[in-house]
Symmetry: C2
Subunit: 339 residues, 2 copies
DNA sequence: TGTTAGCACTCGCACGCATTGAGTGCTAAC
DNA sequence: GTTAGCACTCAATGCGTGCGAGTGCTAACA
């Protein structure tokens, strides 16, 4: 048995009805509202076939049908209707770019903005940093024994953290050290910088020992570059979906969001392109009733981060894909403008 | 009718029982478990009095009693038992200080840490910054037309944001400008700095015009100093309390958390000392079934921020007060160490 | 051969009703 | 002032029932 054109149309109608109503779709209402021009009995026959093929699920005998993950997959792959109207998308674009315009605002405002605009839970994964290359390093005095380390990389991203330094060093000395470090490390990746710093700390190199906190410095670079960070925002949005009227489900969802390592793994998988993962495709059991849409963004040469949204599988895919594509483009544009 | 010693003891027993069980407390179980040595009938009489006085509420005739906000207020003011055991508190202290050790980690980890340790929703309000005084300013080149502005204040806090600058300025020029700005502005408050910068932008002062983005600079300072920021974390914790088994209540709670200005106003009110606000005392209608415990933290001379937790009025006050007091002390110690 | 009308059947859901039991207020005795 | 006893209240629970949306099947029709 294959999925012919009529079956596709019926499936599409069921999916779209269900996305709007969240109630099982019956043959009678479908034959009336879908404009397919066939009777409910015919639709019943087709629905029986689609159920047998695994595209539809009957919650119980006397209820209508609910799309399965397989149905959503087919829908997203083959049946997507046109998405958002241009003017609507433009409005969203404006809202997005006014709040997110650089790396800093992405980190502080990114998840909030995306979740506000989509009404789903938003995810932002920071780019891998260990293979960014260094353009310059600076040390800024901020206290008796503390300095701010600013690392400028080729993608314009600044990693800044406060480190300990010898109290003998004044502003001028720190400036000079910064210039020296820049000279030595320009063009190296952050990973190489880290290793070089550890080397300095171990050796007794006269130049290097000027920094009493050199190991500290290396450790900070390590911390900043070692692992990706993922941010989550708008988790409360799921409380608006009837799928989560039961608090225990909402709890399970939110607990899963706290397990950052599996989130990171999931987001990294969608690193290269706009992607939709439905139910079990997410690879996270708690999200088996959810779909995740992710989109990459690029900063500089090939360093990519990922943004994503997550919500019930019953999701207006076309609209959301349009949105995420747009966010991704805007982000990439905003972040690579910087020389 | 006054609240004599026995009434107090009964009230205390009811509050503590209810905090643990979240079920209306009946006279029979109370006479058995509380060790007061009086019969249930006697307790019933006292309970009737306490109800009349407004300390207890009957959900319905044949249910037990539930403490009113007035009862919690009396409990917190007069009846607090000893709080946490020393070793338990020490464990929490260690967990806290290992994650929150400076302003930066407070901003990134503060709410997560506090909510993890208390299992309530955590709030962190940043200190008012407009009357911090400036110690030095620095400009660090981070791209063709961008520089990082670092402002070091007397409380060691660094405000850094990226601003536009003229492309003609190299690292050395920016360094010199930073020194010049430091010389002129050292000792001024951030508010005065902001005004001075606006003044420069308006005038045609030759020195000032070197910075093509001087208005940008002032605007950034304004943005950073003008308004306090409040961070919220661990909001999902409330889903574990049966008071929020109904999703619509959880939703109302979380929506109220999004209205940052009223949150800020609420937190600012508890700026000067450890405080408990119960129900309507919070001043926020959505939190009429919640209690808020806030504690100030100080950075440098008299600049205070506030941390807080919020949860159902049925809260183990003694423990939570101990915790918040400890957080407040540790934070103040950690943030004022810096010269 | 595909489509449709008809019909018996299923089963979740809402409703009404009785039962249960925790807890109360009141009274009378101690 | 305290306590035992007792009638009373009322939310919660469980059970039976009717309703209705929706199905699968069959037979007739184009």
């Amino acid at each position: 048995m294959d999925v012919d054109a009529r079956k596709l149309r019926i499936l599409q109608a069921i999916v779209e009805d269900y996305i709007l109503s969240n109630t099982p779709v019956g043959s009678r209402t479908l034959s009336k509202t879908s404009g397919l021009g066939v009777s409910s009995a015919t639709i019943r026959n087709e629905m029986a076939d689609l159920t047998e093929m695994g595209y539809l699920i009957q919650p119980h005998v006397s209820a209508g049908r609910v799309p399965s993950a397989k149905a959503y997959r087919l829908y997203v792959t083959q049946l997507l209707p046109q998405g958002m109207h241009e003017e609507e998308l433009t409005g969203a674009r404006r809202a997005f770019t006014s709040r997110v315009r650089d790396m800093e605002s992405l980190l502080t405002q990114g998840t909030a903005t995306i979740s506000d605009l989509t009404h789903y839970t938003a995810l932002v994964l920071t780019p891998r940093q260990s293979d960014l290359t260094v353009r310059s390093l600076h040390l800024v005095p901020v206290g008796k024994e503390r300095a701010l380390l600013v690392i400028v990389t080729d993608s314009g991203v600044i990693r800044d953290t406060s480190i300990r330094v010898s109290s003998r060093l004044d502003a001028q000395a720190l400036y000079t050290i910064g210039q020296m470090l820049t000279q030595r490390m320009r063009g190296l990746t952050l990973r190489e910088v880290r290793e070089m710093l550890y080397g300095y700390a171990a050796s007794s190199d006269a130049d290097a020992r000027v920094l009493s906190g050199i190991a500290d410095l290396a450790a900070q670079v390590e911390k900043q570059t070692g692992s990706d960070r993922v941010m989550v925002g708008g988790a409360h949005n799921i409380l608006y979906y009837p799928e989560y009227a039961d608090v225990s489900r909402a709890r399970a969802f939110m607990d899963a969001l706290e397990r950052r390592d599996s989130l990171i793994a999931m987001l990294r998988q969608g690193e290269d392109q706009l992607s939709v993962r439905i139910g079990a495709e997410t690879g996270i059991p708690e999200f088996s009733d959810c779909s995740v849409i992710t989109a990459p963004y690029r900063i500089g040469r090939g360093h990519t981060g990922v943004i994503g949204i997550i919500g019930p599988t019953r999701m207006p895919y076309a609209r959301m894909l349009d949105m995420m594509r747009m966010f991704s483009q805007e982000l990439t544009a905003a972040l690579s403008v910087k020389e």
